[in-house]
């Protein structure tokens, strides 16, 4: 208990302040005397990735090496790299956190992230590898007007990557700041500069290896933690979950979430409720909409699809997805134990105190398992998990920047500006310059977006990928009538619908609604404070007075919190796009925008006549199914 109290005191001092808020006195998770461990572990992991980059840089001799590691990555390696690319901080720290705070719903949320790979495996990976070269634009350019589709696809790639990138940079900055206590701006710059080092010098070769190393470290750390958690509960199946539902901290958490409804429930029932749906995801329609964006969006993510250009054959592309599914799925199953373990051993209150979103669940669990905040081993384990989280962000950002930079250099500069006439050396230089531009932008956006709520940007990136990228790639590969008109219509309509629906959705801040909510709190607390003050004056018993004073402090804190929130909203009355309340009730637009994206491709293709697209169909379809014509690239 001692351990928990020590953690709680600095954390309570900051109250429920969001991690995203700019609190200078944020609770630092690693005590100062153990800070050297953190630096040591970080230095070791960074040194390892630097060495890999150094070796990789010598292997990057051609443009194909830079964009696609020369097609020389094996299926197994690529599987690990996909897992490394995909298991971002959001899924590594975020899902463990959701499970630790909301139980079943957090676990259910993780399922969609794996099922997404069935789409990638069955209909996307192999044709992409057979048809594509370096970018999504290459796939579309095969049978459509190359300049037109490359221009639109490049814009879409950069849009999706930027949304995802911003979320990663902000999340990364906050995480590094929380874990090792350096300023947010320096954290963002550190992530950006390191990533630029990998990509500019080592291209896809270094990016791939950084992702592989990071994925292996992540899986190792999780395995060790799950082993340690499980060993405390005797390695049982139902016995383990019996402990979960019997845990007083979990029961208290569920009681807090359910409020009045929990009054008639026994502690055992409250614990059992943790393993049942509905604590976090309140709207099934929204959940289904998010599921659609995940299951179809992953297959339209430029940085994921780009990984299939790095393998020599379609068969290796398939093998890489199967490995990725084994690793990613296995990781999410482990996460169930990390999440429930953190809930039992660290406790939801402590996890929320460190970060209201639950992102600190896995790092705090590591610290606890090693012996707590006062022990060397505990802090070593925390530092290790923190370093893995840091490597995660750098690796994911590297993949995203490479995808965006390739679209810029290969599709826009070489494909459109230079009309495909650029020498290998020129293109490689362009790719590096574009990487620098995108990387610098990422750092600037990351710093500017400090304090903004960027969590929904990841969902938006998946929604755009599912509504614009996937329909055009899928129909180009599988529908004979698909053509340039359809591709342009699909990309424009799909992207704008997804973004537009989010702009008018409850994700945005609506000052009037915020004011109404906060005003209600102030209105409720003001008479309460007056009443408690009167009671204190009337009370004679010192014990009763103490209790009332605590009530008073709580009421005053709630009121001042609401007043601060009210002040933050300012005098505005409308959201970013001038709305007083949301026009569209879903937080995730996929349910509407994905069908609209597909429809736009269909209508656009039927309205636009393009003989070349139809003439090229036989070639595309035969190549996509047999790999004829791609052997030369593989032999490289």
């Amino acid at each position: 208990m001692n351990i928990r109290r020590r953690l709680l005191i600095p954390a309570l001092a900051v109250g429920a302040a969001s991690v995203l808020a700019t609190e200078p006195a944020f609770a630092q998770t690693v005590p100062t005397q153990w800070r050297f461990l953190t630096f040591g572990v970080f230095a070791a992991i960074i040194a390892l990735t630097m060495y890999v980059t150094y070796v990789a840089a010598k292997r990057v001799k051609t443009t194909a090496d830079f964009y696609a590691a020369g097609g020389g990555v094996s299926g197994l390696q690529n599987g690990w790299a996909i897992a490394g690319d995909y298991l971002s901080a959001a899924s590594f720290l975020g899902i463990a956190g959701l499970i630790s705070l909301y139980g079943y719903d957090g676990f259910m949320y993780s399922v969609g992230w794996l099922v997404a790979y069935i789409t990638v495996l069955l209909v996307i990976a192999e044709p992409c590898r057979n048809i594509g070269k370096y970018t999504l634009g290459d796939i579309l350019a095969f049978r459509n007007n190359p300049k037109t589709v490359k221009a639109f696809m490049a814009v879409s790639t950069i849009t999706v990557s930027t949304f995802y990138l911003t979320a990663q940079m902000v999340g990364g900055g906050v995480l590094v700041k929380t874990l090792i206590g350096i300023d947010y701006e320096y954290s963002v710059i550190a992530v950006g500069v390191l990533m630029l080092g990998y990509v500019i010098f080592g291209g896809m070769v270094a990016t791939t290896w950084v992702q592989i190393i990071k994925a292996i470290l992540l899986v190792l750390a999780s395995l060790v933690m799950v082993f340690l958690v499980w060993s405390q509960y005797g390695f049982g199946g139902p016995e383990y979950f019996q402990q979960v539902i019997g845990d007083p901290k979990i029961q208290a958490r569920v009681g807090g979430l359910l409020g009045d409804a929990a009054r008639t429930m026994s502690p055992q029932e409250l614990g059992q409720r943790f393993l049942e749906p509905g604590l976090y995801l309140k709207s099934p329609i929204d959940q289904i909409s998010l599921g659609m964006a995940l299951v179809l969006g992953t297959a339209g993510m430029p940085h994921i699809l780009m990984r299939f250009f790095t393998v020599p054959t379609a068969k290796q592309a398939r093998i890489s997805v199967i490995w990725a599914m084994a690793i990613i799925g296995g990781f999410y199953v482990l996460t169930l134990f990390l999440g429930t373990g953190a809930a039992m051993l660290v406790g939801p209150t402590t996890i929320i105190a460190a970060d209201p979103g639950g992102n600190m669940a896995a790092p705090l669990l590591a610290q606890f398992l090693g012996g707590g905040p006062d022990s060397m081993l505990g802090n070593l384990m925390l530092s290790f998990v923190a370093a893995v989280a840091f490597a995660t962000i750098v690796a994911v950002v590297a993949g995203l920047v490479l995808a965006a930079a390739s679209a810029m250099s290969h599709d826009i500069w070489v494909g459109i500006v230079k009309g495909e006439h650029a020498t290998d050396a020129e293109e490689r230089r362009a790719a590096r310059i574009c990487t620098l531009i995108v990387g610098a932008l990422a750092i600037v956006i990351g710093i500017l977006a400090q304090g903004q709520n960027v969590a929904h940007l990841v969902a938006l990136a998946f929604a755009v990928a599912a509504s614009a990228n996937l329909p055009v790639v899928l129909l180009t590969l599988y529908w004979k009538r698909c053509n340039t008109g359809g591709v342009v219509a699909g990309l424009v309509v799909g992207t704008l619908t997804a973004i537009g629906l989010v702009l008018v959705s409850p994700n945005m801040t609506y000052p009037l609604q915020v004011k109404a909510v906060q005003q209600k709190i102030i209105d409720a607390q003001t008479p309460r404070i007056a009443k408690v003050n009167a009671d204190i004056a009337a009370a004679s018993d010192p014990a009763a007075q103490d209790k009332l004073k605590k009530d008073l402090a709580a009421a005053q804190k709630a009121k001042s919190g609401a007043e601060a929130a009210l002040a933050k909203v300012g005098t505005g009355t409308t959201s970013l796009v001038g709305l007083e309340k949301p026009l569209f009730e879903l937080r995730n637009p996929g349910l509407i925008s994905i069908p609209i994206g597909f429809l736009a491709v269909l209508i656009g293709s039927l309205l636009y006549r393009d003989r070349r697209a139809e003439e090229m169909w036989d070639e595309l379809y035969v190549r996509s199914n047999t790999g004829i014509g791609r052997a030369a690239a593989a032999a490289h």
């Binding site: 259910m108 069935i118 069955l122 539902i245 393993l275 509905g278 709207s283 329609i285 289904i288 036989d618």
Partner: protein, 105 residues
């Protein structure tokens, strides 16, 4: 490569057979897995009481159903990998024929 007659390959019985078998297999599996996945959030939203039925200690149907999604995804991957080696063989033959006689103009 420019000399390959793609339309000719496309119309060979061998390629048609590959196309038919692959299309049926892949889209069938795809449809099945999508339906199976969406049953999870739909069930959680509208059949909550069913999810709460305990079957193995505190482990309930909802938890088992979520876990089964992982097993199904892995099962599909394994099943597809095995079937795909047949597709690979067929594709390889088509590619060899294209190099030899069939596909050339």
């Amino acid at each position: 490569m420019a000399t390959i007659n793609w339309a000719a390959i496309d119309s060979t019985p061998r390629f048609r057979e590959l196309h038919d078998r692959k299309t049926r297999f892949l889209w069938g599996l795809m449809a099945f897995s999508v339906v199976y996945y969406f049953l999870l959030p739909i069930g959680a939203g509208y059949f909550t009481d069913l999810y709460k039925v305990k079957v193995w200690g505190p482990v309930n149907i909802g938890l088992l159903f979520a876990l089964s999604q992982f097993l199904l995804a892995w099962g599909i991957a394994y099943f597809y990998a095995r079937r795909a080696s047949q597709f690979d063989e067929m594709a390889e033959k088509i590619a060899r024929d294209a190099d030899a006689t069939g596909g050339r103009k």
